[in-house]
């Protein structure tokens, strides 16, 4: 008797139980976790509790968005990039130029900046499809450095080494002006971060997101279950570029200035470091990492103004040696443990 036939005559109840279990397990995968709720509530509560800290919170929100976008590329698609700031910088310049020459309303500027960065991401994605990790590192680094030099040379457009200034933003959607304390600016950045993270989350738990980590984990096998890896990576890279462009635009809009520093190498390195601190592949690593990195940097630069870079470097070495997974796993495991208990009690 064949096993397939056995499958057909197995008690239906048994099959149904397995199917219900399968559905529940996959649902649990994408369930909203405890720490997600906490972090968003904390971010909102901060508006009221920490009115004097709006500027540093804005900085964190922008950096977090930038890091979440890199996590899509690194943690999901498995592409290591040393030049992610190319999209941040292009978004920043696009937002500045758009505000100066076309429309000074921030939301329209944000969308335009995202679109420009997205076009650049799409165009350069074909370059990163080639080669190994090392080639990708060099390609992404090269693209960012080239853009930095272009921005420096085209002083008539970008202001060159002096940066781009001489523009001010209209109130957000015509209603909320950027105030002196940076409160509206923070709320605006937080809203963009929230919406972008929710979109990234939705993608992460879609069939598309499921296939991304499979490509990262085993490209040979991924092709043999029928995944068109190239197309998936191009789409992911483009989406990440749009989000990085948003982050750059937010920096421009909240500071009314574009420094050539937005394309500098250290920004690409910082955002990688943030993901090393926060962890990759679950999106919130970018947010936790941005909080940790910014607070640490802020604190260290007060305590040891000359040597803070040393301590950041030391932290990085320790994190890599200890294995960030071991440090960050409690976050990933906690809600699963809870649902495992529920699962056991069914």
């Amino acid at each position: 008797m064949s096993l397939m036939a056995q499958g057909a005559i197995r008690p239906a109840a048994e099959d149904q139980a397995e199917q219900a279990r399968a559905r529940r397990l996959l649902q649990r995968r994408s369930a909203i976790r405890f720490f997600e709720v906490i972090i968003w509530i904390a971010a909102v509560v901060a508006i009221f509790l920490l009115p004097s800290k709006m500027l540093i919170l804005t900085e964190i929100a922008i950096l977090a968005l930038f890091a979440v976008s890199l996590d899509l590329v690194l943690g999901f698609a498995g592409i290591v990039s040393l030049g992610h700031t190319a999209f941040f910088g292009v978004g920043a310049y696009a937002a500045g130029l758009f505000a100066r020459h076309v429309v000074a309303e921030p939301v329209i500027g944000l969308i335009v900046a995202g679109a420009v960065a997205g076009v650049l991401g799409f165009a350069t994605s074909f370059l990163i499809l080639r080669g190994s990790d090392l080639t990708r590192l060099m390609t992404t680094l090269g693209i960012a450095l080239m853009l930095a030099e272009i921005a420096n040379q085209m002083a008539w457009l970008t202001g060159g080494a002096d940066g781009l200034s001489g523009f001010s933003l209209d109130p957000i959607v015509g209603l909320f002006p950027f105030d002196l304390w940076g409160r509206n600016g923070y709320v605006y950045c937080l809203a963009v971060l929230f919406i972008s993270t929710m979109i990234a989350r939705r993608i992460a738990f879609s069939p598309f997101g499921l296939s991304l980590k499979a490509i990262k984990s085993n490209p040979t096998r991924a092709a043999l279950v029928g995944i068109p890896a190239r197309r998936r990576l191009i789409i992911t890279y483009t989406i990440a570029a749009i989000m990085a462009g948003f982050a750059g635009a937010l920096l421009t809009q909240t500071t009314s200035f574009v420094s050539p520093d937005v394309l500098a190498f250290h920004r690409s390195a910082d955002v990688l470091l943030i993901l090393v601190i926060g962890g990759t592949g679950y999106l919130y690593g970018g947010i936790f990492g941005a909080v940790g990195f910014t607070l640490l940097k802020d604190w260290l630069s007060v305590v040891t103004p000359q040597y803070w870079m040393f301590w950041i470097g030391l932290l990085l070495v320790v994190l890599v040696l200890v294995g960030r997974e071991r440090l960050a796993h409690w976050i990933e495991y906690m809600p699963q443990r809870l649902s495992r208990l529920r699962e056991g009690g069914r």
Partner: protein
């Protein structure tokens, strides 16, 4: 009988080394075709060429009459041809449930969907659960793949290929490395594959080959040395000399 998979004068060389040398082979619909040969005879290379994992040097491959020689492997899967690997090629940090669901989503062409939820494709999840219980993986559907016993990983290896609903399935040593006590489970699954699926099997285990296959091709030094029914191959003195003689 219709020919479902055919190669014409297929060649693949690595430098001066001919790994696949002028192989012309026809495999019929629903066949159980075993590919045997001594180590280094080029069996796995041949499977790699068929599945599109490596490009051919010259020659052609036809699937159901259509030339697939230059198609990338993910397109061949869509056309009904897939394979398993001698050494597990799985997604280490996925569970069997996620792995099989993934393959089914791709099969149905919704794998690129950015905005739907995986759980939104409930019928596929049900199908994945049914497939897993058929392959005796239901109990471990929520374990990380790299923590499964080796025999279970071998089962998942086959289940994953099977999830794509192939019309031609290439099995590269399905029982390789499986401990004795888990072995019968794998062999049972292999011999119970539905008869509509054409199976090409590479195997060293002669018991499995002779109980399973309807036709056998013997590969030596990249070329077809002999081909025929199980009885013909078993009676072939040349085959006994180069291969079975060594094994006996």
């Amino acid at each position: 009988m219709t020919v479902v998979l055919e190669t014409r004068r297929l060649q693949r060389n690595f430098g001066a080394f001919m790994a696949t040398n002028d192989v012309s082979l026809q495999i019929e619909q629903g066949a159980r075709h075993a590919l045997i040969g001594p180590n280094g005879a080029g069996k796995t290379t041949f499977i790699n060429l068929l599945a599109g994992v490596r490009p051919v040097s010259s020659g052609q491959i036809f699937l159901e009459g259509k030339d697939i020689t230059t198609l990338p492997s993910h397109v061949r899967v869509k056309k009904g041809l897939t394979r398993t690997f001698q050494i597990n090629q799985l997604f280490a940090d996925y569970t069997p449930l996620e792995t099989v669901t993934l393959a089914m989503l791709e099969r149905e062409g919704v794998g690129g969907s950015l905005w739907s939820k995986v759980t939104g494709h409930g019928a596929l999840v049900d199908e994945a659960a049914a497939l897993l219980s058929r392959f005796r993986l239901a109990a471990v559907m929520d374990e990380r793949t790299d923590r499964l016993p080796y025999g279970k990983q071998r089962l998942l290896e086959i289940a994953l290929a099977f999830a794509a609903k192939p019309r031609v399935l290439l099995l590269d040593e399905p029982a390789a490395g499986v401990p004795e006590d888990e072995r019968h489970e794998v062999l049972q699954i292999v011999s119970d594959l539905p008869s509509g699926v054409t199976v090409v099997l590479i195997e060293h285990d002669m018991d499995l080959v002779f109980s399973f296959a309807s036709r056998i091709s013997v590969l030596v030094a990249g070329a077809i040395f002999a081909e025929g029914t199980v009885q013909e191959i078993a009676a072939n003195p040349g085959v006994r000399a180069v291969y079975l003689g060594e094994a006996a």
